[in-house]
Structure formats: C-alpha cells, structure tokens
C-alpha cells in the first residue's frame, strides 16, 4: 500500500505517494530526476549513492524513501549555486580528484559530510573516512589531495567554465 511521504531535497519540498519498499535512490533519480546520485553496487559498499540526510552521510541505495519522511536530503545537485562551485567541487577539478566521474558525486558528498562535522581533519582521518567510497580510476591519491586542499584552505568556491 502506498504511503504519503514529505521531505525536502536540496531545500525544495516534495510530497510523494510511494510504495514502502521503494529506495531513496530510486525516488531521487527516477521520480525527481536528480541523476547525479549514482548506483554502483546496490548493497551499500561502494558509496556512489552517498547523500546527506539531516547532515548525516547515507547510502541512498540502502535507505527506504519512507524513512526520509520529514527530513532534509542533500544531493550533489545541492552543492553548487549556479556556476559557483562548492570548494570541494572546485578542488576535485583543480587537483584531479576524478577521472570517469561516476563515483565523484558520492566522493564529494562523503567528504562534505566529514568536513561539515569536522572542518580540520588530519590526512589520516580523511583517508579513514573515505574508505567507504570506492574509486576504480584514481588510486585515491588525488581524491585525498583534493579534500586536503579544502581542509588546508587552498581552494575557494568560484565560478568555472568547462
């Protein structure tokens, strides 16, 4: 039986009538059209579907959409303001923190969840936190370097072209 669910995504309010077994990732991607959240493993291991729910880091492939009722969801689409990028986004571009880009939204959302709670983590803390996000392209070195660039205040959010 369908349930009525209300939650915000990137500050916008939504109301859905949804089956209780429907996953948050499906509602984000298929119902709202926010396809920046990616599905990599479907079992909460790879981190490609990482979003924030009330600021906490969540694998949206493991969360039922009904459990988001009354909560605030942030996806990768909620970070930039127009062409003005979040510092983490800027850093991933400047420090080469991505290649194919499929895991990148999840990497950035995971890093954001860390920095929201702990703006000055050590490199070891960053590495430890990011072990929940798989990347097959980069070997992680430039992902960690990108995040540390933000931690060290080397990057500001700014407009970019391309």
């Amino acid at each position: 039986m369908k349930r009525t669910v209300e939650f915000t995504v990137n500050g916008d309010a939504y109301r859905f009538e949804i089956e209780p077994n429907r996953r948050l990732i499906d509602v984000l991607r298929d119902d709202i059209g926010l396809t920046g959240t990616k599905e990599g493993c479907s079992i909460g291991v790879c981190g490609a579907c990482t979003v924030q729910v009330d600021g906490d880091m969540i694998s949206s492939c493991l969360m039922l959409a009904v459990n988001a009722n009354g909560r605030d969801v942030t996806t990768i689409e909620g970070l930039a303001e127009g062409d003005r990028l979040h510092p983490l986004q800027r850093a991933f571009i400047e420090y080469g923190g991505f290649q194919c880009g499929i895991c990148t939204p999840g990497q950035i959302m995971a890093a954001k969840a860390l920095l929201d709670h702990n703006p000055k983590p050590t490199r070891d803390e960053v590495v430890e936190w990011m072990t929940g996000n798989l990347c097959r392209c980069t070997g992680y070195y430039k992902i960690i370097e990108s995040i540390m660039a933000v931690v060290d205040g080397k990057v500001e959010g700014q407009e970019v072209r391309a």
Partner: protein, 768 residues
C-alpha cells in the same frame, strides 16, 4: 600515411597543468551517464541467464511470460539473426543457440513497461536443459577425452602460437645459469563503478544506441555483423562513460540484446547490468594464465635465451583473448636484448565467463611470471636485479626477435630513477627482517596493429566564426582524459589558447572512423591525427591571414590566437577569430574545416608472429618495499615507486592519474581481488566480497616520468594508460621473496598462501 619527425622544443600548452575539460559536469552530477538517460515510452529490458555451465537447451517456453501485463516482448535466439559474432573468432550468439556454455550466458530477454513486470516475465520463462560435462580449468578442457565446448574447435583450443627464433636448448646448454618456474594468474574484473548498459531505439531502419562503450566504431561494426545491418544504419552515441579499462570494448551481449528488443518493440529499451550480472556476464575479465618460463644467463647477468609456455583460459566464447595471448607470449621480448627465444601458447575454451581485455592486455600475467623468473636469475647470480635490468635493457634502435622496432626508450633511466626514489642501495643494505625490496620492468605499446592492416586515427577540426576550434573525434572518452590531452595538442599546433579548443562528444554519425580507446593508443595515435588536422587548419588560417596582412603565409606565426609576421609581434597583426569571420562572411565564403589522419609505421604480424606491432613503445620500472607478517602471512606494501617512460607528458594531471590508478588496480590484482567458484558459478559476485582496494589500502607512492621524447609522437608523446599496471604483481612477488624467501606461485597473494608457504619453508629447513 602521415609520418612527421619533429625536434624537441618548448611548448605553450602541452605539458601545462590545465584542468580537465569535463570537470564541471562531473563534480556537479549534471553529466549524463547511460543509466541517467530516459526516453519517452522507454521500456526496461532484462535478461534470462543460464544457471548451468554447459548444457543443451531442450526447450524454451515463453508463452506464460508473454501474458504478463506490461510485457511488450519476450525474445529467444529465434528472434535474432542467429549470426555468431566476435572480435577475432566469431563464435558467440546474441542469445544462446541450442546450447549454453557458461553460467550467466544470455538465454532469453524481456522488454516491459517497468522492472517489476520484466522480472515477473523472466521468472515465467520455462527452459529445459540437458546438462553436459563442464570444464573450469583449461588443463581439464585439454584432456584427450574432453567433450568439445564448441563442436568446430578440436581439443577445445581456440588458438595456438608456436614460435622459436634461434635454438633455445643449445643456448641454455651454453649458459652459466638457467632458472625456471611456473606461475598462475587469475580472473580479474575491470569493475568500473558504472556497469555496462545501453539504451536503444529503432525507427525507419535506423538503430540509435546510447552505449557506454570505449570503442564506438568497433561496437558498431560488431553490432552490424550480429544484427545483419549496415554500419551506417547504426548510430552509437557515447554518454559519459563511468570507467572502462578494456571491459567496455563491446565483447559482451548487453547492447546486442537491447538492440534486438528495440527493433522488436519499436520502442526505446534500456538495459543496465546489475552488479551481479556484471560479474556473471558483463565486462570480460582478465585472461587467467599458467606460464612456465625458463631463462638463461651469462655470469655477468646477460640474458642468453628465454623459453615460455602459456596456457591461457579463453572462457566460453572468444573476445580479445587471442590477441591477449599473443601479447603474453611475445611482447616481453621487446624489453630486454636477447635474440634466442621460444614461445608456445595455447588459448583454451572453458565453461566460464569469456575472458578479455583489461588494462595490460596480457602483460600483467606475463610479467607476473617472467619478471619473477628474471628475479630468480638475479638471486642465483648474486647480482642486483636493477643491474640485470640495466645490463639487458632495450635501447633506441633495438629490434626485438619478433621484429618490434624501438625508437625512443628510457628504460635505463627509469631504473636509475627508481633506484634513487627508493634509496635502493641503502635500504636494501639495512632492511629489517621480513622486509623486502624488489623491482620489475615492462614494455607496452602505443596502439597495436591487429584489427586488419590499419591502426590509424582520424580527426576533423572546424573553427567557428568566433575563432573557437572544435575537434570532431570518435575515439571517445571513458574517463582517462584524452579529451583534455587532445585539445592541448590541437591548441599547441594551432597556436591558440587552450580555452579556445573543445572536443565533441563521440558519435558515430558525426565523426570519421576511429578505432577507440584500447592499447594505450589515444595520446599517440589520436594525438597525431588531431595534430595533423590542426596543421592543415593552421595552413588554411595562414593563407587567409596572408591575404589580410599582405604577407607570405610561410612568414606568419600564430601565438595565443594572434597572427603576425614571424619575429615582429608588434607589427601588423590579425587574429584567428578575425580570419575565421572573414573567411565565412564574404561572397563565396566557407567555414574553416580541416581533416587529419595518422597511421603509424607498424606492420601486421605475419603468420610466424613477426612484425613491428606498434609505432612506439613505452617502458617502466617499478619497485616496492613490503613487509610480511611471519605469524599471519599478511603482506603490507610500505612504499611503491614507479618510473614511466611515456615520452613527452602532454597532460600532467591525467598522466599522473593513469599511473596512480594503475597502481591501485595492480594492488587489487595482486593482493585482494578474486571470486570463489562452485561448479562454474561465482558464489560471491558482489563488491562486498570482490575486494577493490580502498583509500586506506594505498601505499606511500612515489612516481616520476622519464625525460623522454618519441620522435614519431605528437610533440614527443607516446602511450601510458596501461603501462604502470603491467609489472605490479611481479614486483610484489619478488619483494615477498626478498622479505621471507618464499615464492608465491598463484595470484592473488592472500595472507593464507604466504602463511602456508612460510610454514612449508620452516618444515623444509628443519628437515635439513
């Protein structure tokens, strides 16, 4: 053929740390991957797969499945043209014909309004099988009484290579030291975070596919063959591709089945592999090999001869494994200078997933064996393995016993760099117990001539009326960064700022033929094609500018988009933008457009496997320091160093990323990745058990690029994408031996294997 040899010079754009051109879309989540594409009226396709490794199909009944509400098509082989297809040997059907040959093989498929209806219909397809004997080890499939997996392949052998140059046995007899050993490698999945997927639509005889392939035109060719269509009636559009590593070079049936469903229903159809399907029947994993290798040496470390025997697992159908087996059998002989070599390789059908192209393409498996045997020789001789590499290293001008012609080569420099990075002599002399240091080397190609006698590339450049250049290329971008590197090459050649060049997305309707991303070929081959197009464009621009400036074209220069008489930048000038505008907006005007081509000076190997397979060769030396826990067998890589000779580094951020990513895949290949099998079925096909390395697994890593220049490359560049993957496993194997005196003979090197090897060594020494 276009061949130019250019001297070294300073560059304006090449080699600068530009940002990737696809950054904004990828960090904001706005870039569209194939799973993100939805078309009006689109159906969801699902595939019914074989639960058995080898069986005759007695009967398929789809009648109940067809009655499920929302189902628009249920197909079997009867709904396909029943043409067998494949890159080298055409033996694979779109949907199983009469027989299934591995667990996961496509048997039937459904297109429905939604996934629930599709899944329900799949569960209602009734298939009756009659099981046949199945083989999961090539040596079992080679047995004389083995049942044939393909009736027309006697002995279950797909390919045999048997080559001897000189007389190895005679040379071994006259060698001071002869060593030999046998090593086995395993299946490794490319495992990009994005699985294989397609969206197909069909109307008016034209099939359009959004497909995350890394080789668009080859995919089009294979689809055309299997679907019995003309190439031009198929359009492949490449969305952003979430990693390829060889696995998305169209050897699997995802797009084939999707196309048949779209043709059958007249509706767009989408099939995205689940992660489990990706392991069962998606990307074709690395070809497992058992390699016996014998090498002879003189007392001073000179290699006298090499003899190897390769048994490679093809799996149930033939993708790229024949070429991969050829690489494993022959390529390594381009690394060191010796003339006497014997190689036999057999590629054998089994009832497991077809194997195929994965970064390294036979080199990692070969290096895992040969570079360990070389290390055995070094220990036997008591010579520093780095000195063995330097002593025997290929050099510019070297021609391998199989005819590979080396032009640029900085292998010795790579050895020197690794020695310095690792503080090699000092650390080796002062290493604590259970620490080991070791090296390995490799050679790779920059494109390989094996799909017919053409290994070329092409590109078209237009310059818009605003002076901005657009490269039309069909090579594609699967994440490794060629888009950015090719734009740098075009900007450098044209003399315009990097910001004034962009590249189209790959689309077979809009670009000229390009082989695509494999064999580390894009920077070298596509780079040369783009450079040729830019040179032709520049000539057009200069001729028009010459009219405008009343000067001779050959006296003009373009820098930063400004055109002036050479040596007089302050004098009369115009700009590329003004030229483009003036060329178009006048009576008889025309847009600026130019084409470019490049086909390297390589040759197709003859039947004896002789022939220079690539236009340029890339070299690497790597070293590791590892620690082995004697109580548990756990191996920790403490530090890793890689020196790579890829000629001029065009795009530093991308080049560094290729090396770093290769190291991570090497680490997974060597230590953690692998599946458990039960009667031909992988029991744990998921990311929680198939352990990709995480950020926390990566060792301290040092990397350098050799100071190198390839005269036939674009601005001196050659390939890099696979190079750093090749020697990794061998380096770790050698380092473990250095640490604790045991050789692990089978990948992956689990703690358990090291533990038991240590116990066996203890027993051996206490018995003495």
């Amino acid at each position: 053929m276009t061949m130019t040899v250019e001297p070294r010079r300073e560059f304006d754009v090449v080699g600068t740390r530009v940002n990737r051109l696809d950054g904004f879309e990828k960090v904001t989540g706005t870039g569209k991957f194939v799973a993100d594409i939805s078309l009006p009226g689109m159906l969801i396709g699902r595939i019914l797969r074989s639960p058995l490794p080898h069986a005759r199909i007695v009967r398929i009944d789809t009648s109940r499945a067809k009655k499920v509400p929302g189902v628009r098509a249920v197909i079997t082989a009867e709904d396909t043209p029943k043409r067998y297809w494949g890159a080298f040997i055409k033996d694979q059907p779109i949907l199983a014909i009469d027989k299934v040959r591995y667990v996961g093989e496509e048997v039937a498929a459904v297109a429905a309004m939604d996934e629930a209806a599709a899944e329900e219909a799949l569960s209602l397809i009734d298939v009756e099988y009659e099981e046949l004997p199945a083989y999961f080890d090539p040596e079992d499939a080679l047995a004389e009484d083995a049942v044939l997996i393909h009736e027309d392949k006697p002995g279950n052998v797909a390919l045999l290579i048997d080559v001897e140059r000189g007389n190895v046995d005679e040379v071994f007899r006259n060698s001071d030291v002869v060593v030999e050993d046998t090593f086995k490698s395993h299946l490794q999945w490319q495992a990009p975070i994005e699985t294989i997927g397609s969206v197909a639509e069909y109307a008016g005889g034209k099939l359009t596919l959004y497909m995350n392939t890394q080789t668009l035109f080859m995919a089009r060719h294979r689809l055309a063959w299997a679907l019995d269509m003309r190439e031009g009636d198929i359009r492949i559009i490449q969305p952003w591709v979430g990693g390829g590593f060889g696995g998305k070079s169209c050897d699997d049936n995802n797009a084939m089945v999707c196309s048949v469903l779209a043709i059958k229903t007249g509706r767009p159809v989408k099939i995205i592999n689940t992660r489990e399907e990706e392991f069962l029947a998606g990307s074709r994993p690395r070809v497992p090999m058992k390699i016996w290798c014998r090498m002879g040496f003189k007392k001073d470390g000179t290699i006298t001869a090499k003899h190897i025997d390769v048994i490679a697992e093809n799996g149930a159908y033939c993708g790229k494994a024949p070429a991969i087996t050829g690489v494993a059998a022959l390529r390594h002989d381009t690394l060191y200078k010796y003339t006497t070599v014997k190689t036999r390789a057999r590629l054998v059908y089994t009832n497991r997933i077809p194997t195929g192209a994965f970064r390294g393409f036979g080199n990692p498996s070969a290096e895992w064996a040969v570079e360990q045997v070389l290390d055995l020789g070094a220990h036997e001789l008591g010579i520093d393995p780095l000195d063995i590499i330097r002593k025997n290293a290929a050099e510019p001008g070297y021609v391998s016993p199989h005819g590979n012609r080396v032009i640029s080569c900085e292998l010795k420099q790579c050895a020197d760099r690794v020695e310095r990075m690792m503080d090699w002599k000092n650390r080796r002399a002062n290493k604590p117990p259970y620490r080991g240091l070791a090296v390995g080397a490799t050679v790779h190609v920059s494109g390989k001539r094996h799909f017919g006698d053409y290994d070329g590339g092409s590109a078209v450049i237009k310059v818009n009326e605003d002076g901005k250049a657009m490269i039309w290329s069909g090579e594609g971008e699967c994440g490794q960064g060629p888009t950015t590197a090719l734009c740098q090459i075009a900007a450098e050649e044209l003399g315009v700022p990097f910001e004034d060049v962009e590249m189209s997305r790959a689309d077979t309707d809009l670009s000229t033929y390009c082989h695509g991303a494999y064999a580390s070929r894009l920077t070298y081959i596509a780079g040369n094609a783009v450079k040729d197009a830019a040179r032709n464009m520049k000539q057009q621009i200069l001729e028009i500018a010459a009219e405008m400036l009343e000067a001779a074209p050959e006296d003009l220069e373009i820098r930063q988009g400004n055109i002036f008489v050479r040596g007089a930048p302050e004098g009369k000038s115009t700009t590329v933008r003004e030229v483009a505008h003036a060329r178009l907006f006048r009576r008889g005007g025309a847009p600026l457009v130019a084409a470019g081509n490049f086909d390297p000076d390589s040759v197709l190997q003859d039947p004896s496997r002789y022939g220079n397979e690539s236009g340029a060769y890339n070299f690497a030396v790597q070293a590791a320091e590892v620690e082995v826990d004697p109580d548990t067998g756990k191996v920790t890589v403490l530090q890793y160093a890689a020196a790579s000779d890829c000629g001029t580094v065009i795009f530093p951020v991308g080049a560094e990323g290729q090396v770093e990513g290769s190291i991570a895949q090497g680490l997974g290949y060597t230590l953690s990745e692998g599946l458990l099998w039960d009667n031909g079925r992988p029991v744990n096909p998921n990311f929680s058990d198939y352990r990709l390395p995480t950020a926390g697994d990566m060792p301290k890593f040092l990397r350098e690029f050799a100071d190198s220049y390839e005269p036939t490359g674009p601005f001196g560049a050659k390939g890099l994408g696979e190079l750093a993957m090749d020697p990794f496993a061998a380096v770790i194997g050698n380092a473990i031996f250095d640490a604790c005196g045991v050789r692990i003979h089978e990948l992956p090197i689990t703690a358990e294997k090291v533990y038991w090897a240590l116990r066996e060594k203890e027993r051996g020494s206490s018995a003495k």
